[in-house]
């Protein structure tokens, strides 16, 4: 039996957790190998560069989100309002748990990496822009249903979905900066109330 998949996963998850807890630049190959309990040779076998590792980390993080918060929140069995509420509840609960465990609000892993690397690594910036587009699309689809049910008029749906996503990211950034999960509890639910109207 090959142990390769296991080694690959250990490296990936070690890198993901270390980068999320601090930053891309702050985490070296040495620290990843120590946490993953692998030799440096193994690291470079699977990930010839830190950029390739980080692109895989971003995918891994997104898959984890899809299988947990996103699946539960954006369920067809929930009304649009319930979907948004579930998204906020699960996000707050996760950040509160992380804060209890680490002493820090870590915020959005994608927003963190985008802010750090958008100007210096175009591949990573594009990757995160793509994921942001998918997250924003989930909000947009929910909003379209909400508009149909509630007969909201003159709403610029695309701008509102993008604005909701921006607000969500901004609240995460603020909670991280204040290192206070209460910011999320106070502000995140207002995401669903955001409205950008068509200018006629």
């Amino acid at each position: 039996m090959s142990t390769q998949p296991d080694t690959y996963t250990r490296i990936l998850e070690a890198a993901r957790d270390l980068i999320y807890a601090s930053s891309y630049a702050d985490v070296g190959v040495q620290a990843i190998c120590e946490k993953a309990e692998v030799k440096k040779g193994s690291f470079y076998h699977f990930f010839p560069s830190k950029q390739e590792l980080t692109l895989a980390v971003i995918d891994n993080y997104y898959e984890g989100l899809k299988d947990s918060i996103l699946r539960e929140a954006f369920s067809a069995s929930l009304s649009p309002a319930e979907r948004f509420q579930k998204l906020f509840e699960l996000t707050i609960a996760r950040q509160e748990l992380i804060h209890q465990q680490t002493g820090h609000v870590l915020g959005c892993p994608f927003g963190n990496l985008a802010t750090e690397l958008a100007t210096s690594d175009e591949a990573i910036r594009c990757k995160i822009e793509g994921l942001f587009g998918r997250l924003q699309e989930l909000m947009r689809e929910t909003l379209v249903e909400a508009v149909a049910r509630e007969k909201i008029e003159d709403l610029d749906i695309d701008a509102t979905a993008e604005g909701m996503f921006a607000y969500f990211e901004g609240v995460m950034l603020l909670a991280k900066t204040k290192n206070d999960p209460a910011v999320l509890r106070k502000l995140l639910p207002a995401t669903a109330q955001l409205r950008i109207h068509n200018i006629n």
Copy 2:
């Protein structure tokens, strides 16, 4: 005549511009000294550590903002609505100019540093939390005036000001991630429309 103030300022401004263009971790003492055209000895004379330099850079950036965008936008001669509009216009114009000059939307210098360093440098996190509080207070005072003029009812003014600030930061983050100043033009003006109501 001493040349010390000049050397100090050259180092500070070189560091400020380099960090803003990439990230804290990406900028080394060597690069700062080259850009500022000073010797490493001078650097360590004025700034014994990179943390001290960065705290000074943050102050320098805030002073610059106070003397330009903030002074012009939060003028007593403007109505609350005009103040918000001026803030958005000047912010968009600055980011568009930076984008033209560098090819990148650089976003909010404070939000960038907070996202990168909040979990690893408590002094820098606290510094930025304090500045965020001052910026949020400018929004809150403007909002208080707007509420008095427009007789908006049941508004949670503190939460709305904090939400406005979060939204502003989120839009900056999104524009940086998409590397597109048009995001600012589309979304930033909605900051002033954000409303978080009291739950009774």
